[in-house]
């Protein structure tokens, strides 16, 4: 259950997961010590079962700490270990039952009429023939076990979670540009007071000749958000609401590009610092099909997708994406992570998702490029698919924003070696897109509320 919640249901907070998985590990350790001296088979059974909490803890810890590659290794290794352990137990059980039937057959020898046996655990089953019986039984055991394992794996993969909720942070503010203000700070220099009655005559400095040191201090003087309520946020948000950064998983390529380099997390934190909105503690990933788990008015205002290899998205996922963009008022933030091929595949995907909407370059004076930061030119790390951002507009609202130049690389640790200025513009662009999506979502919710009133 804990595993399902962590990977699909997302109902419990992270600390609960830590507690649960660590507890499971502790339980397994205790369990390993407890049965010493007992039956060897039982001990081995416990030993085998302990692999599961260990596997769960290691995978959970690796993914939660942002070590995605290590997490993948643990996932694969755990899967292989589970398969092998299960297979060993299956072989042990079949062998044991087989011996049992063999000894029973010997006891019955010559007593009755030979009947056709069907039980696969019995070596005398007719379909094993008269030669290589044991080999045939082993083959059947391996095949049956493998099929069962694959079926279980398939069923586990179908767990897409029940219902999930996304809530924006509550607050208010105006969607306008961030202004820079200058604070003048008077710095009084240390000065010598000369006694004017002294016998020494010289020109004393005028007492009020104080040099002012002007310090330019940039401060975010206003609240970024949408609505009249106090604090930075959105009027339709909630007090427990947070801005989250959700990346989409897909088949075929490297959807997790730069994830280990904390690209998403850095962007999320920067968004929080810049807008003063409450943000989640960590970035998240979801399969496209999991977007269907969000109800219409509580779905994420934006999701992020990137990569540089193949982009295989099936018809079912395309339908979920279409529903998310048009009916749930979401925004798809796509970033070409490194090849013209990926860009072409993404444009083709959008043609299938939104067949009646044309892709058009987004002008630099579009609100998404102006609020809260005015972007003078589109920043990129490398021009993988042109130098213009491309957008898909439905009813005056951008539903997809395609960045052609690997903006995620500039958010990642090390910023891909781009200049500080470009890295800053990349963060500003990311902030703008995230803010645009949340503001548009808020507008939509408010309009729905007004209609209902």
């Amino acid at each position: 259950m804990l595993w399902c919640d962590w990977s699909a249901w997302y109902l419990l907070p992270t600390w609960c997961h830590w507690l649960g998985f660590t507890g499971g590990l502790a339980g397994a350790a205790y369990w390993l010590h407890w049965p010493r001296g007992c039956d060897r088979t039982l001990y081995r059974g416990i030993l085998g079962a302990c692999v599961l909490p260990l596997w769960g803890f290691l995978t959970f810890a690796a993914f939660t700490l942002g070590w995605y590659r290590l997490g993948k290794v643990f996932t694969a290794a755990g899967l292989a270990a589970t398969f092998v352990i299960g297979l060993c137990w299956a072989v042990w059980y079949v062998e044991r039952r087989s011996r049992h039937y063999e000894s029973a057959t010997k006891g019955d020898a010559g007593e009755g009429v030979a009947t056709r046996r069907w039980n696969p655990l019995d070596l005398a089953a007719w379909y094993y023939g008269s030669r290589r019986k044991r080999l045939d039984q082993s083959g059947l055991t391996f095949l049956s076990y493998s099929l069962c394992f694959l079926l279980a794996l398939f069923l586990a993969g179908q767990i897409s979670g029940c219902r999930e909720i996304y809530e924006s942070p509550f607050g208010g503010g105006k969607p306008k540009k961030i202004q820079q203000i200058v604070k003048i700070q008077q710095v009084i220099k240390r000065k010598f007071i000369i006694n004017p009655y002294s016998a020494v005559v010289f020109n004393p400095p005028p007492i009020h000749d104080i040099k002012l040191q002007i310090l330019e201090v940039t401060d975010n003087k206003y609240r970024v958000g949408y609505g009249d309520d106090p604090g930075a946020g959105f009027a339709t948000g909630t007090n427990r609401g947070k801005v989250r950064f959700i990346r989409l998983e897909y088949d075929g390529g490297d959807w997790d590009q730069d994830l280990e380099r904390n690209a998403d997390l850095n962007m999320l934190l920067q968004y929080g610092i810049r807008t003063k909105h409450r943000v989640a503690d960590r970035n998240e990933t979801r399969k496209i099909s999991q977007l269907a788990n969000f109800p219409p008015r509580k779905s994420p205002p934006f999701v992020y997708i990137t990569g540089q290899r193949d982009l295989n998205i099936g018809k079912g996922e395309q339908k979920v994406l279409r529903e998310y963009l048009t009916e749930k008022h979401g925004l798809l933030f796509a970033d070409n992570g490194g090849s013209g091929g990926w860009g072409g595949q993404f444009l083709e995907l959008m043609r299938r998702v939104l067949p009646t909407v044309e892709a058009k370059p987004i002008p630099l004076d579009h609100p998404i490029h102006r609020i809260p930061y005015e972007i003078p030119f589109l920043p990129y790390v490398a021009p993988h698919g042109g130098k213009d951002a491309i957008g898909w507009t439905v009813e005056g609202r951008l539903v997809a924003y395609y960045h052609p130049g690997d903006i995620g690389d500039a958010w990642a640790d090390g910023h891909a070696g781009v200049s500080r200025k470009i890295a800053e513009y990349c963060y500003q662009t990311g902030t703008n897109v995230m803010f645009y999506a949340h503001a548009e979502y808020d507008k939509w919710l408010r309009s729905l509320e007004q209609q209902e009133q």
Partner: protein
């Protein structure tokens, strides 16, 4: 005098400026010399792509000569500059809309009205664009701009897959739009599209009625034939519509047959007959009736007499059916013997009878042509030694193209893995940096990496290919196993040429192969 001056000025800049970016000749004639000078300065920067400077110059014009007849044009061009700089909303709000607000009766206001719609369309605001196009159509219904707006509305309807609206707009453009010299192209295209839709729907009478608005008599039949030809192919693809295709084809053949004059007493009539026969043969070909095609060609030859064009078509028909002997016998009847022999050789090549083809080429009087063909054929079929020998002969007899023949010798050596010889051949060619790059490529294949790098480093000075050369240097280091140098070279590609496709490739390569995120690229302030 002034009008001719304006015409001269416009003639000088017209190719660089779109119809919606040009000033009216009459307006230009009314302007003072200083005003014209200021506009020309702005226009010079605009045509060079220096939009920021051009924008300032148009702004200056508006400040200095606010009452000038050229002011609405300057305001319109200011909007164009903003749009080019990707500030499209500003262009709409402060540029085009201002033209309409301040100079509502000017020609530029008409253009601005359309440009507002077009700009919305360009940034994907389809609903706003549609409303603005409709406003333009209503406000300036008799102006050419209304036709442009209707064409764009048609495009929007196609994107939205709104069939009903598309048919309405096509009918409007075909039947209700007044035809002028300016809008003729758009209206005729709409007419053809409407007719095409009618043909596909099986409404042949409606299709002809639509075409009658733009074409007369023989021209109408030809256009109908073109449209119906595509529809016939479409119908023949499915069994249930096959009969429909054949029926349409026969009716079109009947119509085209009426274009053949009874008496062929002048060249125009002969040309008309030839065109009609070709069309009939084409329709028979589309409906897979080869005997009828052949019959039509033979009838043409009987009526119109033999000529190389006609014989060539007949021979091509035989070649298409792999009847090479028949094709050759037709080619032998060519009046242009050289063209006939070349075509015969080509048929031998198609049959892979190379020696016979070479014998035909060798029989050509023009030795340069013959040897050139022979050398190319040897090269294509992998007989490199014979190709090299032939190219060497060509060097002797065709001194004008010596570099091309030497290059081909290099290619032959390279293809046959004699790389040192290839390097030698390329080094004799006077074509920097192409030859150096090819020599370096050979050195790389020979694993002589330092020599390859030396050549690439010389090529770096050739600026247009420098990004590519940097990438090749990086790949050479990579092949040589010098990992650090390769990484450095890839990073330099990103750093020095951040806007190029090579920067994109280098960036991806560093990430995928070396797992290096710091690629040193990034946009530059523009």
């Amino acid at each position: 005098m002034a009008a001719s001056l304006a015409a001269l000025t416009l003639a000088g800049t017209a190719p660089a400026l779109d119809f919606l970016e040009q000033i009216e000749v009459e307006t230009f004639a009314e302007m003072r010399e200083v005003e014209r000078y200021q506009l020309k300065v702005a226009e010079k920067h605009y045509t060079k792509g220096e939009y920021r400077i051009a924008m300032d110059e148009y702004d200056k014009f508006l400040t200095l000569y606010e009452k000038s007849p050229g002011a609405p044009y300057a305001q319109l061009m200011w909007g164009h500059c903003q749009a080019r700089l990707r500030f499209v909303n500003t262009a709409i709000r402060d540029g085009f809309q201002s033209v309409i607000d301040y100079w509502p009766d000017s020609t530029e206001a008409v253009h601005a009205s359309y440009l507002i719609a077009k700009s919305y369309d360009n940034i994907g605001q389809a609903e706003k664009a549609e409303a603005a196009y409709l406003r333009t159509v209503n406000d300036y219904s008799t102006h050419h701009i209304a036709t442009l707006a209707k064409v764009d509305l048609l495009h929007l309807a196609k994107v939205k897959k709104d069939e009903k609206k598309q048919m309405l707009l096509l009918a409007d453009l075909t039947y209700d739009t007044e035809r002028t010299e300016a809008n003729r192209g758009h209206v005729v295209n709409a007419t053809r599209e409407l007719a095409t839709r009618h043909v596909y729907a099986g409404e042949y009478g409606e299709a002809i009625r639509a075409l009658e608005t733009s074409y007369k008599d023989g021209e109408l039949v030809k256009v109908y034939n073109d449209i119906a030809g595509r529809a016939i192919s479409h119908f023949l693809r499915e069994e249930k519509t096959e009969a429909k295709g054949v029926e349409l084809s026969d009716s079109v053949i009947g119509m085209v047959g009426t274009l053949i004059p009874d008496v062929l007493d002048d060249e125009a009539k002969r040309a008309a007959a030839r065109d009609a026969y070709y069309r009939i043969a084409g329709l028979y070909g589309t409906t897979a009736r080869p005997a009828k095609v052949l019959e039509t060609y033979e009838k043409m030859i009987t009526i119109l007499g033999e000529d190389d064009g006609l014989l060539g078509t007949l021979a091509k028909f035989h070649r298409g059916r792999k009847h090479y002997d028949k094709a050759r016998s037709v080619y032998r009847r060519f009046k242009n013997k050289v063209a006939g022999l070349l075509a015969i050789a080509e048929t031998f090549v198609e049959e892979e009878r190379y020696d016979e083809a070479i014998a035909v080429y060798a029989g050509l009087e023009d030795q340069v042509l013959g040897n050139g063909k022979i050398a190319k054929l040897y090269q294509d079929i992998g007989r490199y030694d014979e190709a090299i020998a032939t190219y060497k002969t060509l060097i002797e007899i065709d001194r004008d193209n010596i570099d091309s023949h030497r290059w081909q010798i290099g290619v032959c050596y390279e293809s046959s893995d004699r790389l040192h010889n290839a390097i030698d051949a390329y080094s004799r060619v006077d074509d920097f940096p192409r030859n150096f790059l090819q020599m370096a490529s050979c050195h790389r294949r020979l694993e002589e990496y330092s020599r390859a790098l030396a050549l690439y480093n010389q090529c770096k000075v050739y600026e247009p290919r420098a990004p590519e050369v940097f990438m090749l240097i990086a790949k050479t280091y990579e092949e040589a196993g010098q990992r650090e140098n390769a990484i450095r070279a890839y990073q330099l590609t990103c750093k020095n040429y951040p806007k190029t496709k090579e920067a994109s490739q280098a960036h991806s390569h560093l990430q995928s192969k070396y797992d290096i995120n710091v690629t040193l690229g990034g946009a530059k302030e523009e």
